[in-house]
């Protein structure tokens, strides 16, 4: 820097002059705001405005195409409270969100530990792992629907061949099995991303941590429990919290697999509110449930940013 200090000021002055010609005298802040303007406009129009519109709708009466007819009422929340399906929807939403994340962690963590090793075919294994993440989820979920088909599906056929059962199980027709099926497909679609994140976390642990432990004669089990897991804590917290939020807003798997059938027993809040608005044309209740879902997810978001901050401090 010292060597160029003679030439730099005049060069910079020329550059500033050129910039002023382009943008007027905006300065550092002004130029930055100008650069942010396009994205801010997009967010304002496509995210913030519809959000405000939904919140307004929750406290208004609406007609059958979602137009607000009068503002300032809690009737939508009261109707939602009296809706006999709601207790089931709430229960299913929480079981679905937390259940799928717990199951995804249970599969992904060991998977990442194995993929972190050297073995022939490791590269191929990592490539195959990412397939469900890259493929269109709506289309993979429809393929699962075909696999779960009671008479022609691959799953029942596999069970027949292995002699586990000779019955044609109605995977998507019985409430408990259908709920299990949508959770399974959600886990199937979430494993790749989580595994890759865990794998990245594992690879960021310095290898000499393990060398020291091996000299102390630590077993491989202790290696995982005492050293890998604490080192992974931050990435673990971030990934699981993000996954919970994504699971709460998950729509595609349920919609393409069961559409909430049978009898709303595989619906969660986002699919149910979609039905309230677009099938029952009860936009008011749809808005109210959307608002409640928004509040719930905001709580998780605040929690998420808190955790991030505290991890950075600690």
């Amino acid at each position: 820097m010292a060597a160029t200090s003679g030439a730099a000021p005049s060069g910079r002055r020329a550059a500033r002059r050129a910039e002023r010609r382009l943008f007027g005298d905006l300065g550092e802040n002004g130029t930055a705001y100008l650069l942010l303007l396009p994205s801010m406009l997009a967010f304002a129009g496509l995210v913030i405005f519809p959000l405000v519109s939904t919140i307004a709708g929750a406290f208004s009466t609406s007609d059958a195409v979602g137009r607000i007819t009068s503002f300032g009422t809690l009737a939508n929340f009261r109707e939602l409270w009296l809706d006999s399906y709601m207790p089931g929807i709430v229960r299913q939403t929480f079981i679905f969100a937390f259940g799928t994340v717990v199951l995804t962690v249970i599969v992904s963590f060991p998977l990442a530990l194995i993929l972190n090793q050297q073995f022939p075919g490791a590269r191929l294994a990592r490539g195959l792992l990412l397939l469900p993440w890259a493929a269109p989820l709506a289309i993979s979920a429809m393929t699962w629907r075909w696999i779960f088909h009671d008479q022609l599906g691959a799953l029942n056929y596999l069970l027949h061949l292995t002699g586990i059962t000779q019955q044609n199980i109605l995977w998507l027709g019985r409430a408990d099995l259908a709920f299990g099926a949508v959770m399974f497909v959600e886990v199937w679609s979430s494993v790749p991303f989580m595994t890759i994140m865990f794998l990245a976390g594992l690879q960021s642990i310095p290898p000499h941590t393990y060398d020291a432990a091996k000299m102390d004669g630590a077993s491989s089990w202790h290696e995982v429990w005492d050293m890998t897991i604490p080192q992974m804590k931050k990435i673990f917290m971030i990934v699981t919290l993000l996954s919970v939020i994504w699971a709460f807003r998950s729509f595609t798997v349920i919609w393409t697999l069961t559409q909430g059938n049978p009898f709303y027993r595989t619906d969660i809040s986002v699919t149910y509110l979609y039905k309230l608005a677009f099938k029952n044309l009860s936009f008011g209740q749809g808005f109210a449930l959307a608002f409640a879902t928004f509040v719930l997810l905001s709580v998780f978001s605040i929690l998420y940013t808190r955790v991030l901050r505290s991890e950075e401090m600690g």
């Binding site: 910079r12 519809p50 519109s53 469900p132 890259a134 269109p136 971030i238 919609w255």
Partner: protein, 276 residues
């Protein structure tokens, strides 16, 4: 060492291989079904490997499902989202990366916030406007919505790729008489092209795989992308699974091929985001 070796091989045999099998299973079924005749997919018991493999589906599916139109629409959604994400995201990412302006922290928190609530919530709020202004069946609306929801992620990715370019290069360009933005356009953008391509493909995949906005805001077959087009086919007609799986395979192979091109760059970028 020997004992650890045994544990490793047992875990590969009894955990990794079964899990990988489940992860790729739908794709195996997809391919296998696409080579079966309608008669073979309707017979009981079913088959895993087609007994009389046929290529007929790949010829005929185009007449059974308006697949060419769906392909065109998916492509338009992917390309549209790519353009929008780059157009809106590059300036924003550059500002976040190189400028220390007032409100920078708030903007970062806001980006995070856009990822935190359900797109369904927005769909509901936007519907009456879309209907009132006759914007149903407008692919641009869907591309804009999808881009807005993917933008935060893409800005984070771009910020990561831009920060890898040393600012001294821009300073040198500015000494040659370039403005700050001129330096960015002439130096930083060309140098970060592998990252830009990764983001472009990420956005294209997101547009191609989009489902919820298309399901809500596109109604006519002529405007449906593959995801919703194939879903309509499932719900509207007596399902011809062989045609459906042929279309599904064709729709999947396009994005998977693109993804393979940028797999390493993209996963590294995503990992960098989560570590921030």
């Amino acid at each position: 060492m020997g004992r650890i070796g045994v544990v490793k091989w047992l875990s590969i045999l009894f955990f990794l291989i079964p899990v990988l099998f489940i992860l790729v299973f739908p794709f195996i079924v997809m391919i296998s079904t696409s080579f079966k005749s309608l008669q073979e997919v309707s017979q009981i018991p079913p088959t895993f490997i087609p007994r009389q493999p046929t290529l007929a589906n790949y010829r005929e599916v185009w007449n059974i499902i308006p697949l060419a139109k769906h392909f065109r629409n998916s492509f338009l959604l992917g390309a549209g989202e790519t353009f929008l994400v780059l157009f809106l995201g590059i300036p924003a990412a550059y500002a976040l990366c190189r400028f220390r302006f007032r409100g920078r922290g708030s903007y970062m928190v806001f980006l995070l916030f856009t990822q935190m609530f359900a797109p369904v919530v927005v769909v509901l709020g936007l519907f009456r406007l879309i209907a009132a202004y006759g914007l149903v069946d407008n692919l641009a609306v869907v591309a804009f919505m999808a881009a807005a929801f993917n933008l935060a992620f893409c800005i984070w990715l771009l910020t990561g790729y831009f920060s890898a370019i040393p600012p001294e290069i821009e300073e040198a360009a500015m000494m040659d008489g370039n403005s700050r933005l001129g330096a960015m356009i002439r130096m930083t953008l060309p140098l970060s092209w592998p990252g830009l391509i990764a983001v472009a493909i990420f956005a294209f995949m997101d547009g191609w795989n989009e489902f919820l906005f298309s399901l809500t805001f596109l109604r006519t077959d002529d405007y449906l992308p593959l995801t919703v087009g194939l879903f309509r086919f499932i719900t509207r007609f007596q399902i011809q699974w062989n045609s459906l799986m042929t279309g599904s395979f064709l729709a999947t192979i396009v994005v998977v091929a693109l993804f393979m091109l940028v797999q390493d760059k993209l996963t590294r970028g995503l990992v960098a985001i989560s570590e921030k």
